[in-house]
């Protein structure tokens, strides 16, 4: 945990002092071995500045002082009564300060993963409690120090937001670099705990271990590193150009926090979609209320990590529940809603948010095209198409769900793809040795089955995966051809391991087909011709395009992410994403002069003429007009000042 006041040096001094007072004996651990020194801010935060500074200084001295000298000082302070007040009083203060610090940390039954605090209580046989009030067992129990709530009722939801309103002030008062300290601690913790986290993700989603490691853990660490490197720069006050008509004034943008951000996340990348928006919200100075999907709550994980990284209890609150809970949270008027999920739910959220004009950012679904031209490296394109369609078992908003292949290479490409699809290793593995895992929810399995049946009924051809029983969550790769736009699999998001192949004739044909969709999240273009790649990229109506690669814009945390059409509203990630969680406050600063401005009252005929002349000069162009602007401008200024002070004459 992070101390706002004690650095490494003071911490060393504190632990040396601690071991003098509690060197450890039998079942009682030494002070330093408890790690409780990291909780010191729970005291320092509330001390008078003088006392805290005194202790900080003393701890610094202790860091360099041999332990036997510290021991001598403490023992001397114990003998304070033997001295007259002039020496006795300072000795008593030292005794109270030093012993108070150590004993308070040691005997406060601090919650720690090793349960050391509890063991010390057991060692002194201390066991006290209060019988809970009748009915209190139904109370929402916090699972850790970071607040979390399970299916809260409306009173509790009000309480969530009351807490958040306090937390948002605390967070907004910290500087960006102070906030980043917590981000760094979280990053380190995620790195240390990655296997445990992957276990937990796998348990809730059934995805492969490698999927979880690559897409969630790596992606998060990359994103947190981006925040560490860029957030300070992106969020500092920005000086903005001031036009000549406003000469003498200064313009700025302040990137301020909005307040409380409600983050509602989907079940496909439950950990990534928790940590990324939560940290963006936090770094930009907001408190967060986070509602995970009821299908993949990763219960207890996020709050545990945030707590261990030092986040205070209400900075981020986690609310478990379903759509009804989500609606209750929206009613509390968060300052912004960040939603990732389906189009249908996105529409409901926006409708609900519109009642109170709450800004929404919607990251919705896609039906992403992959376009392969005849000059592309087919081996690579096929491998890319396979990964883009199947990663996370096809349950990504940017999964490839339409594969457009130029007719000249269609058969060759199809052959490579089908062969590769048959080699996909599928299981819920324990060691990372599998390509894909299972589907996460039965409802999504039903949709895949529905799309499959509909396509086959309308004469599509299934090239792989015939052995699937239509029920198992382990859906094998399904390669199709002969798809047309009457089929759901062509127009609706399937969100499963499908690879539908389409033939196109030429560049314009590919563009037309790719754009013939209600979605516009991302696309990929595969060709050896760079200028064709850029031409096609420009013409596709979508939010993100990867050239000769797939789903890669998300791989760069510096790039913004978001869709057009039914794929969503707004952008997050990258510097733009940081700004979208901010109140971009425009500021114009003038001097405290006595001058009366030209555009203020009184308006007179004379002012009209001068203003007219100045306007012609300013916007007319050319050197003569510029001179006219200067002359009229100066006249206008002095006239306005005069008439402003003396009034109409």
């Amino acid at each position: 945990m992070i101390s706002k006041y004690f650095g490494h040096l003071q911490n060393r001094g504190l632990n040396k002092l601690g071991d003098v007072i509690i060197p450890g004996e039998g079942i009682f651990p030494s002070f330093s071995s408890t790690g409780f020194s990291s909780h010191v801010d729970r005291m320092l935060d509330y001390m008078y500045d003088d006392d805290r500074e005194g202790l900080t200084l003393l701890m610094t001295v202790f860091a360099f002082m041999p332990s036997f000298v510290i021991r001598w000082i403490v023992l001397l302070s114990e003998k304070n009564a033997a001295f007259p007040d002039v020496i006795g009083a300072p000795l008593r203060m030292i005794q109270l300060g030093l012993k108070g610090l150590i004993l308070t940390l040691y005997y406060s039954n601090i919650d720690d993963p090793q349960k050391t605090g509890m063991k010390i209580m057991e060692g002194i046989k201390w066991q006290t409690g209060v019988a809970p009030l009748e009915g209190d067992s139904k109370r929402v129990e916090r699972t850790s120090k970071t607040t979390s709530w399970k299916n809260p009722d409306s009173n509790q939801i009000t309480n969530v937001f009351d807490r958040s309103r306090t937390a948002e002030r605390e967070i907004s008062l910290m500087t960006v670099s102070q906030r980043l300290k917590y981000v760094t601690a979280l990053k380190k913790l995620i790195l240390d705990e990655k296997e445990m986290i992957v276990d937990k993700i796998q348990m809730d989603t059934g995805k492969g271990r490698s999927d979880a490691l690559f897409s969630e853990i790596f992606g998060i660490l990359d994103h947190l590193t981006f925040l560490e490197k860029e957030a300070c720069k992106a969020l500092k006050d920005e000086s903005i150009k001031t036009p000549i008509a406003l000469m003498g004034k200064k313009s700025k943008i302040f990137y301020e926090s909005l307040g409380t951000i409600l983050v509602i996340s989907p079940w496909n990348y439950p950990f990534y979609q928790a940590i990324v928006p939560i940290t963006v919200s936090f770094v930009t100075g907001n408190a967060t209320v986070y509602k995970p999907s009821e299908f993949t709550p990763l219960e207890g994980l996020v709050e545990d990590l945030l707590f261990r990284a030092g986040f205070k209890e209400d900075w981020v609150q986690i609310v478990y529940g379903d759509g009804k809970t989500g609606a209750g949270l929206i009613e509390q008027r968060p300052d912004k809603i960040f939603f990732t999920g389906s189009v249908a739910t996105g529409k409901k959220i926006m409708a609900k948010a519109s009642e109170q004009l709450i800004p929404v950012e919607l990251e919705l679904g896609g039906k992403d095209p992959l376009i392969i031209f005849e000059d592309a490296n087919l081996e690579r394109a096929a491998a890319g198409a396979l990964w883009g369609s199947l990663t996370n078992t096809g349950q990504s908003c940017t999964s490839v769900e339409r594969i457009y292949v130029q007719e000249t290479i269609y058969d060759e490409f199809k052959k490579i793809l089908v062969e590769k699809a048959k080699t996909i290793k599928q299981e819920i593995d324990k060691d990372g040795d599998a390509d894909i895992g299972s589907m996460t929810t039965d409802s999504q399995v039903a949709i895949v089955k529905d799309h499959l049946d509909d396509a086959l009924k309308k004469n599509a051809t299934l090239l792989t995966g015939n052995h699937w029983d239509g029920k198992s969550r382990v859906i094998p790769p399904l390669v199709f051809e002969n798809i047309n736009s009457d089929m759901n699999i062509c127009t609706e998001e399937t969100f499963g391991p499908i690879l539908p192949l389409y033939k196109f004739i030429d560049e314009q044909d590919a563009i037309n087909m790719a754009n013939d969709s209600d979605f516009g999240l991302s696309a990929s273009v595969w060709t050896a011709d760079k200028s064709r790649a850029i031409r096609v990229t420009r013409k596709i109506k979508t939010g993100n395009v990867s050239v000769n690669n797939v789903m890669l814009t998300e791989g760069n945390p510096y790039l913004p992410f978001g869709g057009v059409k039914n794929s969503g509203i707004g952008r997050y990630k990258g510097v733009h994403g940081l700004h979208s969680f901010c109140n971009m406050k425009s500021v114009l600063i003038d001097g405290n002069s006595g001058k009366i401005e030209a555009n203020w009252f009184p308006y007179t005929k004379r002012k009209y003429e001068l203003f007219s002349g100045m306007t012609e000069g300013l916007f007319g162009g050319g050197i003569m007009n510029f001179i006219k602007f200067l002359i009229y401008g100066l006249k206008l200024e002095s006239y306005s000042d005069k008439v402003g002070k003396k009034g109409r004459v």
């Binding site: 003098v20 006290t128 019988a131 109370r139 002030r169």
Partner: protein, 464 residues
């Protein structure tokens, strides 16, 4: 809220401030109650000792007098002392009230005229004695020791209800707020009524100065975010206790030389008796008995059975390393009795040159003798009950913080008039423990409630 001019602003949401808020709100006045501490409820009281000490008291737990031999525990929380105390309620006797009448020259300090106010105060809270069957081992030693020495003791009267001792409730946990709402603290008694009647309560606002401008009182202070705020009202009630009220007036340059004088704390001293058997002083109602001995009263001290949580007890014990641990391992074998003296030697609350709180409070020879008498009574109790070793605590504590704005008829010897307004300003009132003219030697809570009830009449009258 910043657009409003309140009828009354009250600084301090302890017992006095909360009782007054209720009375004044119920009379239809617009009232703003400001409190420096946090507004906890039974769901979020800080339960670990580290957090409780830090978040419920000024100075992160403790403040010291200049000689650093009295640890002053000054509550800083909505509800004030009623959240962190043991809710002991006692009426004052003739000894206390006669002394006040003589000092203040105020004739209604007497049992007959105070009793109706005590009864009104008692109607707001539920009071009970600890049932005999739930007294713990420490209370047993206390009673046996008293019997053996011919001292008289009596059960404590406590403002509590439905503590569920039969289900194993240990009151020591409630020193940082009661999670059952059994303790009759302000947040479960008068404050909810006041809030229902329109009280505006702002917690975590530290009042720093008061001034009067064109007949209105302005309270300046800092809110929890560090922002400065100013509130305006027609009347002001100082209810921030002896120390809070004194320094607020001193910082605001009030000139009555009696401000901050006459500071009393009923200095307390805890003595631990180590026994061979398990005592479990920490279990059940850890405080159940008090001395009720006329001789003790004459000699100006009282005894109570008491205990503290591990950090507090650890601080009382001598030594470090293995010596310290050898005591801590036997914490459940310790009995504990405290002596509290009716201190005679007044202390002073003032501001240092740099504007910091400075408390001068010493025991003179008389007080020291009283102290020694009390301590020797404790030793008698322990020794007559088979104690193995007696450990006298390391330092004294001051919990009953009284005086600084003494009430009295004469403005040259007091700060507050018998109508509860400052002699210096008829629009500024105080009725809490700061107006005590001397140390009563009896738990002050009930009298603070009674005085608040009485003072509310004067305040309402002044607004007519």
């Amino acid at each position: 809220m910043h657009h409003n001019i309140f009828d009354v602003t009250i600084v301090g949401a302890g017992i006095s401030g909360s009782f007054l808020a209720k009375e004044l709100c119920e009379a239809g006045l617009s009232v703003l109650l400001l409190e420096a501490g946090k507004n906890f409820n039974r769901h979020n009281y800080p339960k670990k000792e580290i957090d409780a000490n830090s978040q419920l008291y000024w100075g992160g737990g403790i403040e010291l007098n200049t000689t650093a031999d009295i640890g002053i525990l000054r509550p800083k929380v909505v509800g004030g002392g009623s959240v962190v105390n043991q809710a002991l309620l006692d009426k004052f006797d003739d000894v206390a009230l006669d002394s006040w009448r003589n000092k203040s020259k105020i004739d209604w300090f007497g049992r007959d005229s105070m009793d109706p106010w005590y009864e009104k105060a008692l109607s707001e809270v539920h009071v009970e004695e600890i049932p005999v069957e739930f007294r713990n081992g420490n209370a047993d030693i206390f009673i046996k020791g008293f019997e053996a020495n011919g001292f008289k003791c009596a059960p404590l009267k406590r403002a509590q209800k439905n503590c569920a001792y039969e289900k194993g409730s240990d009151c020591i946990e409630c020193l940082s707020g009661c999670i059952r709402d059994s303790k009759q603290s302000m947040g479960v008694t008068v404050l909810p009524i006041a809030l229902k009647s329109g009280l505006a309560l702002i917690s975590e606002f530290e009042a720093e100065a008061i001034e009067k401008v064109s007949g209105l009182i302005r309270v300046h202070g800092t809110d929890k975010y560090g922002d400065k705020r100013i509130f305006r009202s027609k009347r002001l009630v100082l209810a921030a206790g002896a120390i809070g009220n004194s320094i607020l007036l001193l910082k605001s340059k009030f000139t009555n030389p009696n401000i901050g004088k006459g500071f009393y704390t009923h200095p307390q001293f805890m003595s631990l008796g180590l026994y061979d058997k398990e005592i479990h002083s920490e279990k059940g109602p850890f405080q159940a008995m008090k001395s009720d001995d006329p001789d003790f009263r004459v000699r100006s001290f009282k005894l109570e059975n008491v205990f503290g949580p591990p950090v507090a007890i650890g601080m009382l014990l001598p030594g470090i390393a293995s010596r310290h641990l050898s005591y801590m391992k036997k914490i459940t074998q310790m009995a504990c009795v405290e002596v509290a003296i009716r201190d005679q030697n007044p202390g002073t609350i003032s501001l240092s040159r740099s504007g910091k709180l400075k408390i001068v409070k010493t025991l003179d020879e008389r007080d020291q003798t009283t102290f020694n008498n009390g301590l020797s009574a404790i030793h008698d109790i322990f020794n007559s009950t088979g104690v193995r070793e007696i450990v006298d605590g390391n330092f004294k504590i001051g919990l009953h913080l009284m005086g600084g704005l003494a009430i009295g008829k004469e403005s040259n010897s007091s700060v507050v008039s018998e109508n509860f307004n400052l002699h210096e300003d008829e629009h500024i009132f105080a009725a809490d423990s700061s107006i005590f003219p001397d140390a009563p030697g009896i738990n002050p809570s009930l009298t603070i409630m009674a005085l608040a009830k009485k003072a509310s009449l004067s305040i309402k009258e002044s607004l007519k």
